[in-house]
C-alpha cells in the first residue's frame, strides 16, 4: 500500500511539473478574410504559475518568409493576449507567437489567408459533411442536437482549413425553396440522400458561426423546380416547363407525397411532432418532388432566380450559390446535338446547344449581375464536367465559360472516378495530364477549378498526400467524398497549401508548356521525380518567382487509394537553364524549398552556378516539395 501511495505521489509531482511547462497556442479568429479586414491573433499561454505573465512576441509572415507585422505584448492574468492585424496582400499568412516566462520559451504557429475573391486562396472545399442534417425527432429537443451539429461542422471546416464550403441540400430549387415561405422555419428540400431537414434559425446560426470563423458558405442550387414551392411555381407558369417530343413534361413527377407535404406546411409547426408526417421526416426524398427543369429561353427566369438567391442570402446569411447545372438553353441533355429532344409547351424545339449558348450566357450574366448589384461579393460556382463530354455529362461551352466563369468556382465531377480502376484518369500520369490541362483552361477563364467529389475513406495516408500534391501542383483542388477529414495528412497538407497558396493556386501563375519545361528544367534524383507539368512562373507586386513542384513518383502506376510508402527521394538535383531567367536574374542566389512533411516547412537552399546553369539540391523528401526561386 505504502509503495502504491509513493508511486501515486511521484506521478502527481511529475504531473505538476509537466503542467508548468510553457506552451503557446496562437489562433487567428478568422481562417480567411478580405484585404483590410481585421484578424484577431489570439494568443493563449499555458503553464504559467498563478499571477505570472508572459512576454509575447507575435510575428506575421507571408510569401516565403517576408515579415508582414510584428507585435509585442504581455499576457493577462488568464494567460491571454490579442493583437489585431489587417492584411492587405493576398494569399497565405503564418503567425508565430513566442512566449517567454520564468526563463522558459515556447512557440506556437498557425496559418490564415487573405483574398478578395475567397475562391482564390481556397485549397479545399467543404461540403460533404453537411449532408442529411436531420430534424430533431419528435420528443427530441432542438438543443443541444442541432446546436452541437452546427458547432461540429464549423470546427470540422476550420480544422481542415476549408475556407469556403457548400451547404448541400437546402436549396434544390432556386425558384421556390432557397428560403422557405415567410413564417415557415423548417426545410424539406434536397436531393436524394442529401435531403436536407433543418430550420431557418439553424441555418442562420450555421452561416453566422462560419463567418465568425472566417469561412464562406455557398448553397447548392439546381435549375429545376421541385418541392411544394416549385410545384406551385410550375402551376402558375406552365409556359416555363419543357416537354419531350411526345408532349410529356421533361422531368419527374410524384404526386404521392405532394398532398402530405402540402399539409405539412399548412399545419406547421404542429406537423413537426405529428406522427402522420413522420414518414416524410424520416424518408422523403424531396428530389422525388423534383418536377422539371425549366425553359430558360425566358429571361424572366433568370430574374426570378436572382431574386430568389438574393432573398435566400438575406434570410439565411450565406455568401453565394453553387449551381449544379445552371440555366442552360437548351435544357441539360445532349451537349452537341440539335436540341430536338426538348420543346416548349407549344411544341417548338428549343435552340440547339450552339445557338443556345448565347442565351445561357445571357441568363447567367443576368443572374450574376443582378445578384452582385445587390451584394458585390456574391459567390458563384458552376459545374462544367471538365471539357470531357463523357457519359452525357453536361459541358460548359466556351461562350458560357467566358461569361460566367471569371471569379467563379468551377467543379469538375468527372475526375471523381480517378481512384477507381476503370476510370480514364486512374493512372497518375493521366490524372496529372488531364487535370492540369483542365486547370489551365479554368485559369484562362479566370475561374478556380475544383475536382470532386472523389474518393474519401478509401484513400490511405500515402495516397492522400499524393492526390493532394498532384492536384495543387496541377493548379486545382481535390474535393473528396465522404469522411475526408479523418487523416492527419489531410489537415497537414491543407494547412501547408493554405499557407503557400500563392505559389500553388494563384491564377497569375504561368505554367510552362511541357516541352519548354523539360528543356529548361532537369531533375535527377535517387528515384523518379514527377515535375514536368508542374513548372510555373509567378510575377506580381512581390517580384518574380520560378515555382517547381517536385513529386516523388508514386510506386504504383495507378491510383489505388492504398499506395505503399515510397522510398525517400534523395539528393534531388534541380538544374535550371540560364535562358529560363533571360533578362532578369541578377539577384539569383538562393532557392526556398517548401515541404509539407518537414518540421521546418520552408528552408533555404543554395543555388550552385556552373556552366551558365544553376543547380539546387534538395537533400530529401518523401512525397512532395515545392522549389521556389525568386529572380
Amino acid at each position: 500500500m505504502a509503495k502504491f501511495v509513493a508511486v501515486l505521489l511521484a506521478l502527481l509531482v511529475l504531473a505538476s511539473v509537466a503542467s508548468a511547462d510553457l506552451a503557446v497556442q496562437v489562433w487567428p479568429d478568422k481562417l480567411q478574410v478580405r484585404p483590410g479586414e481585421p484578424v484577431q491573433l489570439q494568443v493563449t499561454v499555458t503553464g504559467l504559475t498563478a499571477g505570472q505573465t508572459a512576454a509575447v512576441q507575435c510575428r506575421v509572415a507571408r510569401l516565403l518568409d517576408q515579415e508582414a507585422a510584428k507585435y509585442d505584448g504581455t499576457t493577462d492574468a488568464a494567460g491571454k493576449v490579442s493583437f489585431t492585424f489587417k492584411p492587405t496582400a493576398e494569399f497565405g499568412y503564418e503567425v508565430t507567437a513566442t512566449a517567454t516566462a520564468g526563463g522558459q520559451e515556447a512557440r506556437g504557429r498557425e496559418v490564415f489567408a487573405c483574398a478578395q475573391n475567397p475562391w482564390s486562396a481556397c485549397v479545399a472545399y467543404g461540403g460533404d459533411s453537411l449532408r442529411s442534417w436531420n430534424m430533431p425527432k419528435p420528443g427530441e429537443q432542438y438543443d443541444p442536437y442541432i446546436t452541437k451539429r452546427i458547432a461540429d461542422w464549423v470546427a470540422d471546416w476550420r480544422t481542415n482549413y476549408e475556407s469556403v464550403g457548400e451547404i448541400l441540400g437546402i436549396a434544390y430549387d432556386p425558384f421556390s425553396s432557397v428560403a422557405p415561405p415567410p413564417g415557415i422555419d423548417n426545410y424539406f428540400s434536397g436531393q436524394g440522400d442529401t435531403a436536407y431537414r433543418s430550420t431557418v434559425s439553424g441555418l442562420k446560426k450555421l452561416t453566422s458561426d462560419l463567418h465568425a470563423n472566417g469561412i464562406y458558405s455557398t448553397v447548392y442550387v439546381n435549375s429545376s423546380v421541385s418541392g411544394v414551392g416549385g410545384t406551385e411555381f410550375a402551376r402558375k407558369h406552365p409556359e416555363y416547363l419543357i416537354f419531350t417530343r411526345d408532349g410529356s413534361v421533361f422531368g419527374g413527377l410524384n404526386t404521392q407525397t405532394l398532398p402530405l407535404l402540402q399539409r405539412f406546411y399548412q399545419q406547421y409547426p404542429a406537423s413537426l411532432t405529428d406522427k402522420e408526417f413522420q414518414p416524410i421526416i424520416d424518408s422523403i426524398s424531396p428530389g422525388g418532388l423534383h418536377i422539371a427543369p425549366l425553359n430558360f429561353e425566358h429571361p424572366e427566369l433568370a430574374h426570378l432566380g436572382a431574386e430568389s438567391i438574393i432573398r435566400g442570402r438575406e434570410v439565411l446569411g450565406y455568401d453565394g450559390v453553387r449551381y449544379d447545372g445552371h440555366y442552360s438553353v437548351p435544357a441539360i441533355g445532349d451537349p452537341l446535338a440539335p436540341s430536338s429532344m426538348y420543346l416548349d409547351y407549344a411544341g417548338k424545339p428549343q435552340p440547339s446547344v450552339r445557338d443556345g449558348d448565347a442565351l445561357t450566357a445571357r441568363n447567367m450574366k443576368l443572374t450574376m449581375t443582378e445578384s452582385r448589384a445587390k451584394y458585390s461579393d456574391f459567390l458563384f460556382g458552376f459545374n462544367w464536367a471538365g471539357f470531357r463530354p463523357d457519359n452525357g455529362d453536361w459541358v460548359m461551352s466556351s461562350k458560357e465559360a467566358a461569361t460566367i466563369a471569371p471569379g467563379s468556382y468551377i467543379l469538375d465531377e468527372v475526375a471523381k472516378g480517378a481512384g477507381e480502376a476503370a476510370a480514364p484518369d486512374n493512372r497518375w500520369v493521366d490524372f496529372a495530364r488531364n487535370m492540369t490541362e483542365e486547370a489551365e483552361r479554368a485559369r484562362k477563364f479566370g475561374a478556380f477549378l475544383f475536382a470532386g467529389w472523389g474518393g474519401g475513406p478509401g484513400y490511405n495516408e500515402v495516397d492522400t498526400r499524393w492526390i493532394k500534391a498532384f492536384s495543387w501542383a496541377g493548379g486545382f483542388r481535390w474535393i473528396p467524398g465522404d469522411n475526408r477529414n479523418n487523416k492527419a495528412a489531410w489537415r497537414l497538407y491543407n494547412q501547408f497549401a493554405f499557407r503557400y497558396s500563392e505559389f500553388l493556386l494563384s491564377n497569375t501563375l504561368h505554367r510552362l508548356p511541357l516541352e519548354e519545361a523539360t528543356k529548361l528544367v532537369q531533375v535527377t534524383a535517387s528515384r523518379p521525380i514527377v515535375y514536368e507539368r508542374f513548372v510555373e512562373q509567378l510575377q506580381n507586386a512581390d517580384g518574380r518567382f520560378l515555382v517547381i513542384n517536385l513529386i516523388n513518383s508514386p510506386v504504383e502506376e495507378r491510383i489505388t487509394q492504398q499506395a505503399a510508402v515510397p522510398p525517400v527521394a534523395e539528393n534531388v538535383q534541380v538544374t535550371l537553364a540560364p535562358e529560363l531567367f533571360a533578362g532578369g536574374a541578377p539577384r539569383l542566389a538562393e532557392a526556398r524549398v517548401l515541404n509539407p512533411d518537414a518540421t521546418e516547412q520552408s528552408q533555404t537552399l543554395p543555388l550552385q552556378a556552373a556552366g551558365g546553369k544553376f543547380t539546387a539540391t534538395v537533400p530529401s523528401f518523401s512525397y512532395w516539395s515545392v522549389l521556389v526561386i525568386p529572380y
Partner: protein, 575 residues
C-alpha cells in the same frame, strides 16, 4: 360468346349489337393504307395439327432437346404452340423452333407473336426469338452475333404477352427461329398468333418530326471528328473497351406513337471484327438490325444506314448499339423521323389480331346504381388535382372515391384497379400513356357499357398525356392537336355557363374541337371549357381548362365551381 377482333370497327359494331345503340361514331377512320400487309405465316396459331400432335409446318431444330406440341388455351383460337425443353437435354442444346415459312422477298417485316411461359419469376431474361442473318453462325451474344434476338424480360409468368420485332429481310438471311434458353429445363413456352407481315413503307410521306440522337452511354469515348455532325464522334476501340460496350441514345426519347425511319451513320475504322447491333425499342416491340463488317464499303468513311421502327401505344422509347469488342467503329448520330402516326386502334388491330378478347379480356360492365349506396368512383390524382376542385366535387356529389397517385417513376400507386364496380373514373391530369393498351381498351368497353369517364387537363393531360390517337382520345367528345394543345388565352376570361353566369376566371385551355353530337357545357374566352357526350351507354366529360396561371378571381377558388363540377360529375356517371 367469343368475338374475334378483326378490326375495331367490327368490335364496336358487335358491342353495339350486344349492348345497345352507340350514339356517336366513336371510331376514327383508320389510316388510309394499312401499316402492314397480309400475314405470311401459316398456322401461326397452331390450329392445324399433324398426326403426331404437332403444329403443322413447325419443326424442332433439335428434337433431342425439346418436345413440340399444341395445347388448348391459346389466346388466339383454341390452341397454341407449346415447346417444353426436356429436363434431360444436354445443357448446351437449345430448344429451337423452325417456322413454317420465312419471307424471302427483300424488305422490312413485322414479326409479332404472343407468348406465355411458366418460368419462375426470377428467371434470367429469356431469349425468345432470333433470326439468323448469316446461315450457320453461332450465337455468342447479341453483340457478337450476326443475328437478331429478342429478350423477354420476365413479364409475369402464366399470362399472355405480345411482342413484335421489325426486321429486315436480306438475301443472306435465314428464316425465323424461336427457341428457349437452355437454363429453363423442363419448362414450357407457349406461343400463339405468330405472324409475319411486310411493312407497307410509304414511298412518299410528310415528315412529321425529326429527332437527332447523339448521346453516348458507356464503354467508348468521344473523339474529334471533322466529318461528324458535331465535330466529335463516339468511338469503340478493340482492345480498349470491353465487349458489350454501348453506343446509346438516351434512355428515354419519348417519341409519339408512329412509324419511324431511323437513319444512322457509322464509320468502320479497323477492318474485320464483329458486327454492330442496333436496337430501337418501345411500345412492346423492337427494331433490331445487325451491321456486319462486310456491310462497309471502306474504312475510315462514314456510311449511312437505314432502319424502320414501329412504336405503338407510347410509354417511352430508347435506342442503343451493342458492339462485340472486335474492330473499331465510330458512331456519329441516329436520326429518327416520324413518317406516319399510329393510333391505338391501328396498333391493336395489327398486334392483337386474332386474339380472343372476350376470353383474355372480359368486357367489364358499369356498376349499377343502387339506391341508398354511394356510387363508386376512381380518381387518378394528378399534379394540380387538389386545386382543380375535383376531390371536393366528388365528395359533394356523393361518390365513394378511391384514389391513385403518380409515383416518382411515373406509375399509378396503387395501380389502376380496373373498372369493375365503378360508376365513374376520373383522369385528373393523369397521362393516358400511364395506362396500358389493355387498360385503355377496357375503359373504352366499360364506357360503352355505361361507365362515366372524366378527363381533365394540365401539364400532363390531354395531348401532353398521349391522349390523341389513344383509346382514351377516341372516347373524348373533343378532338385535339396531336400533343401540344395547351395554350394561354390572350387575357383572363370568365368561365361561362350557357345562361351566361360567370364562375370565375380562367387563363389556360387545352385546344380542342367538339365532335359532332358533343355538347359544350361551359365556355371560356369563346372556347369550349367543358364538353360532354354520350358514348355507347356511357358518358364522357372533357374539362379543358386546367387550374393554371394566375388569373384574377380564378374559377377554382369560386365556391360555385364545386357545385357546378359536382353536377357535371353526376351527369357523367348517369346519376
Amino acid at each position: 360468346m367469343r368475338i374475334r377482333y378483326v378490326s375495331a370497327v367490327t368490335l364496336l359494331l358487335t358491342l353495339a349489337a350486344l349492348g345497345g345503340p352507340v350514339s356517336a361514331a366513336p371510331v376514327p377512320a383508320p389510316a388510309p393504307a394499312p401499316l402492314a400487309g397480309e400475314n405470311l405465316m401459316p398456322n401461326g396459331s397452331a390450329e392445324e395439327v399433324n398426326a403426331q400432335g404437332q403444329p403443322t409446318g413447325w419443326e424442332l431444330a433439335n428434337p433431342a432437346a425439346a418436345t413440340l406440341t399444341t395445347a388448348l388455351g391459346g389466346c388466339a383460337g383454341e390452341r397454341c404452340l407449346q415447346v417444353e425443353r426436356k429436363a434431360d437435354a444436354p445443357a448446351d442444346a437449345n430448344a429451337s423452333l423452325t417456322s413454317p415459312v420465312a419471307p424471302t422477298e427483300a424488305g422490312w417485316y413485322l414479326l409479332s407473336f404472343w407468348f406465355k411461359y411458366d418460368f419462375p419469376p426470377e428467371s434470367k431474361p429469356l431469349p425468345l426469338v432470333y433470326v439468323q442473318r448469316r446461315a450457320g453462325a453461332d450465337r455468342t451474344g447479341w453483340s457478337g452475333s450476326p443475328m437478331y434476338f429478342y429478350f423477354a424480360n420476365n413479364p409475369p409468368s402464366g399470362e399472355w404477352h405480345y411482342a413484335f420485332l421489325v426486321l429486315r429481310q436480306r438475301a443472306d438471311q435465314t428464316g425465323l427461329q424461336m427457341r428457349m434458353d437452355s437454363q429453363h429445363m423442363g419448362r414450357q413456352l407457349s406461343l400463339d398468333s405468330v405472324q409475319v407481315r411486310r411493312l407497307n413503307l410509304p414511298a412518299t410521306f410528310t415528315l412529321l418530326s425529326t429527332n437527332v440522337i447523339r448521346t453516348s452511354y458507356w464503354g467508348g469515348e468521344w473523339v474529334p471528328d471533322s466529318d461528324a455532325m458535331g465535330g466529335i464522334a463516339w468511338r469503340v476501340t478493340e482492345g480498349l473497351f470491353p465487349p458489350g460496350s454501348k453506343m446509346s441514345g438516351p434512355v428515354r426519347t419519348s417519341e409519339l406513337p408512329g412509324l419511324y425511319r431511323a437513319t444512322y451513320r457509322l464509320k468502320r475504322q479497323v477492318p474485320g471484327g464483329q458486327p454492330v447491333g442496333l436496337n430501337l425499342s418501345g411500345g412492346g416491340g423492337q427494331t433490331m438490325e445487325t451491321i456486319l463488317p462486310e456491310d462497309f464499303a471502306e474504312n475510315g468513311k462514314y456510311q449511312e444506314f437505314t432502319a424502320y421502327f414501329l412504336y405503338p401505344f407510347g410509354g417511352g422509347t430508347g435506342c442503343n448499339w451493342d458492339w462485340g469488342g472486335k474492330g473499331t467503329y465510330d458512331f456519329d448520330m441516329l436520326k429518327l423521323e416520324l413518317i406516319r402516326r399510329v393510333s391505338d386502334h391501328e396498333a391493336w388491330n395489327l398486334l392483337y389480331q386474332g386474339v380472343d378478347a372476350d376470353r383474355v379480356l372480359p368486357a367489364p360492365p358499369a356498376a349499377p346504381v343502387v339506391a341508398g349506396a354511394p356510387p363508386r368512383a376512381w380518381l387518378g390524382f394528378g399534379l394540380y388535382t387538389e386545386e382543380s376542385g375535383l376531390p371536393k366535387a366528388l365528395t359533394a356529389a356523393g361518390f365513394q372515391t378511391n384514389t391513385s397517385a403518380i409515383s416518382g417513376d411515373g406509375k399509378l400507386v396503387p395501380t389502376f384497379p380496373g373498372t369493375v364496380g365503378l360508376r365513374l373514373m376520373v383522369l385528373a391530369d393523369v397521362p393516358a400513356r400511364m395506362l396500358s393498351p389493355v387498360e385503355k381498351f377496357q375503359i373504352m368497353r366499360w364506357v360503352s357499357n355505361g361507365g362515366g369517364l372524366v378527363v381533365s387537363g394540365g401539364p400532363y393531360g390531354f395531348g401532353y398525356g398521349g391522349t390523341p390517337g389513344s383509346f382514351v382520345g377516341d372516347l373524348l367528345p373533343v378532338t385535339e392537336d396531336w400533343a401540344f394543345d395547351l395554350y394561354r388565352l390572350p387575357q383572363p376570361a370568365p368561365v361561362l355557363r350557357p345562361n351566361g353566369e360567370k364562375l370565375g376566371m380562367a387563363l389556360w385551355l387545352h385546344r380542342a374541337k367538339p365532335r359532332d353530337k358533343a355538347k359544350v357545357l361551359l365556355t371560356a374566352g369563346g372556347q369550349p371549357f367543358a364538353v360532354g357526350w354520350q358514348y355507347g351507354q356511357g358518358k364522357v366529360l372533357a374539362l379543358l381548362g386546367p387550374p393554371l396561371g394566375e388569373p384574377p378571381s380564378p374559377y377554382w377558388e369560386n365556391p360555385a365551381w364545386t357545385n357546378q363540377l359536382a353536377n357535371l360529375l353526376k351527369w357523367t356517371a348517369g346519376l
